[in-house]
């Protein structure tokens, strides 16, 4: 019930907010022209003149900040810091990509604008990270700058509680940005709520997808065939359709490349075998590698897929690690630092990026710890939509 209410609220606000900017562009001149006899054209041009001056005026600030940030990032120092902070941030659900912006925002408007620009460049306008970043930028102010200018202009030296209050406000704005964006954009709303439970063979939908079920061979971390007679890859209907669209956009990008699937729907009985095979690792640690069969993996619902890129002849592209490699080398979130430290080559990272690009475009979400794993829906959403396949 609450979820339905939130969903309809989101749909409503999204609908309303689509129209706010275009309507403002018309209503403000309308009011000025017909109610206040403002020469709207002339005032517009008068105001618009400043656009050029402001844009040009920010060039030196942008150069200064972007060069420093560019050097900082190229050195690998930022990744070192983020690598160190990520575990703490993940606990509270704060996206580590937004950390530099959150730290910069109170210090410098031009600096945080540079970081925001870079964030949107890297992750795209539609990504959750960019939306959080833009919300953060729009909902906080450059506290130190405002304090210096406002108090400085009248010679106030003792600022009492003003700075602390300003910084608390920034903190609230930053936390609010993460919180509200995750509520509104964290789980994409799928309009098709009555997705039937049909399970489909993905190769029947798109024969160009190559299937090599690793658990149906001896080439997996257990070293034995646990799927037996099962050697086709199955998915629920909606995730399968998403996969077909990923396959199409991959071939538009490069006609020589194909998706090569390692695993799709994985019955819970298989999940138990994988779980038990890792009995040397304590159960609390084991969830890093294999989902607990009691809770169930999204694979068990037929809404997750493991895959890589391959050439038409089936030869796999170099992704830096094999499938089911358990370690940081397989973590997409550490790629930048691994690249900087020379553990991954540019080509390997680029191959992973191509895979992620086509999968994310098709609506899949990525996993921070496995480059090959993609989810069609979040865990909660999957659980609401589908039954576990035993």
């Amino acid at each position: 019930m609450a979820k339905i209410m939130i969903d309809s609220f989101v749909i409503l606000t999204n609908q309303i907010s689509r129209y706010i900017i275009p309507f403002l562009l018309v209503l403000i001149p309308f009011y000025g022209l017909f109610f206040k006899k403002v020469k709207v054209y002339e005032s517009f041009v008068e105001g618009a003149k400043d656009g050029f001056t402001i844009a040009v005026r920010i060039i030196p600030y942008l150069v200064a900040i972007l060069v420093a940030i560019g050097m900082f990032r190229a050195s690998g120092a930022l990744e070192m810091l983020l690598l160190f902070l990520t575990p703490f941030l993940n606990i509270v659900g704060f996206p580590p990509e937004n950390l530099p912006l959150a730290l910069m925002r109170p210090l410098s408007g031009s600096g945080s604008l540079g970081l925001l620009t870079d964030l949107i460049d890297r992750y795209g306008q539609d990504s959750l990270i960019s939306k959080i970043g833009a919300t953060m930028y729009g909902s906080t102010e450059t506290t130190f700058y405002v304090l210096a200018v406002y108090f400085g202009s009248v010679g106030i030296r003792k600022s009492r509680h003003a700075l602390i209050a300003g910084l608390l406000a920034d903190l609230a704005g930053i936390i609010g940005a993460v919180f509200f964006c995750q509520i509104l954009f964290g789980n994409p709303i799928v309009s098709n709520q009555n997705d039937n439970d049909e399970i489909v063979n993905i190769q029947e939908l798109d024969p160009s997808i190559i299937v090599d079920l690793k658990y149906s061979t001896q080439d997996n971390f257990l070293g034995k065939d646990i799927y037996g007679e099962l050697d086709s890859c199955y998915l629920r209907k909606t995730p399968a359709a998403m996969l077909v669209s990923a396959s199409k956009s991959l071939q538009e990008l490069n006609p020589d490349l194909r998706l090569l699937v390692y695993d799709g729907l994985r019955p819970r009985s298989i999940q138990k075998k994988l779980w038990n095979a890792l009995d040397t690792i304590p159960e609390t640690e084991r969830t890093k590698f294999v989902a607990d069969p009691i809770k169930g993996s999204i694979h068990n619902y037929g809404a997750a897929i493991d895959l890589t890129l391959a050439y038409k002849n089936g030869m796999e592209l170099d992704m830096g690690t094999k499938y089911d490699y358990f370690g940081a080398l397989a973590f997409p979130i550490y790629e930048d630092s691994l690249l900087n430290l020379g553990k991954l080559s540019k080509e390997q990272v680029e191959n992973r990026r191509i895979l992620r690009k086509v999968m994310q475009k098709a609506g899949f979400s990525i996993l921070n710890s496995e480059w090959w794993h993609f989810n069609a829906f979040s865990y909660d959403e999957t659980k609401n939509k589908y039954q576990i396949v035993e």
Partner: protein, 200 residues
């Protein structure tokens, strides 16, 4: 502050780059980013001009004054120390109205005028009054309800979506600022000094 952060980033970059052997990448990044900065700034000219032009119409049509009138009861509650007929109230309202509409250029001059008028009511010219701190905290919390023109330019069509999250997060930060000043101004540590002497 920014001086240290700015220098610190480049300093750390060179040190870390030397250790990890990424020093060539550091050099290249410095050159590439200086070019990127200009490209980005030039790309903003058009959209900034559009937004600022529309805002100029709003200003001349008196829309800012209408909002100022609507906010008067709130400012009286926020700044109980200022006599209600004092000119500082007018400047504060206009500054906030400009901030709400995202008119950063207009907001700063109005804010400085408000500070000047608040200073007239101040006994100790070196120490901020409660009203000054409240005014500043609200200003630093961003009370903007219209997205900054730069965010609209950078986010493109997705700007429509973050409109609502920005209002919610801004509201949260402003409420926090007000609660914080109202709470902190009563603390002994931040007390306004009696007879013009600061005990801190």
């Amino acid at each position: 502050m920014l001086n240290y952060i700015w220098f610190g980033m480049m300093f750390v970059a060179v040190i870390v780059g030397t250790i990890t052997g990424n020093i060539d990448a550091v050099t290249q990044a410095a050159i590439d980013m200086s070019k990127t900065a200009v490209t980005i700034a030039l790309g903003l000219i058009g959209i900034m001009a559009l937004w600022l032009g529309i805002m100029k119409i709003a200003e001349e049509a008196g829309l800012i004054r209408i909002i100022a009138r609507g906010l008067r009861p709130i400012t009286l509650w926020l700044f109980p120390d200022i006599p209600s007929d004092h000119p500082a109230i007018g400047s504060i309202i206009l500054n906030m109205a400009a901030n709400i509409l995202g008119l950063g250029n207009a907001a700063t001059p109005l804010g400085l005028k408000a500070m000047e008028e608040l200073q007239e009511l101040n006994d100790d010219k070196e120490t901020a009054t409660n009203a000054m701190c409240t005014f500043l905290a609200i200003n630093t919390s961003s009370v903007q309800i219209i997205l900054p023109a730069t965010v609209v330019a950078l986010m493109g069509a997705a700007a429509n979506q973050i409109f609502i999250t920005t209002i919610l997060a801004t509201g949260l930060s402003t409420i926090t600022a007000i609660i914080a000043v109202k709470f902190l101004e009563k603390m002994k540590r931040f007390e306004y000094p009696k007879n013009g002497k600061n005990h801190d």
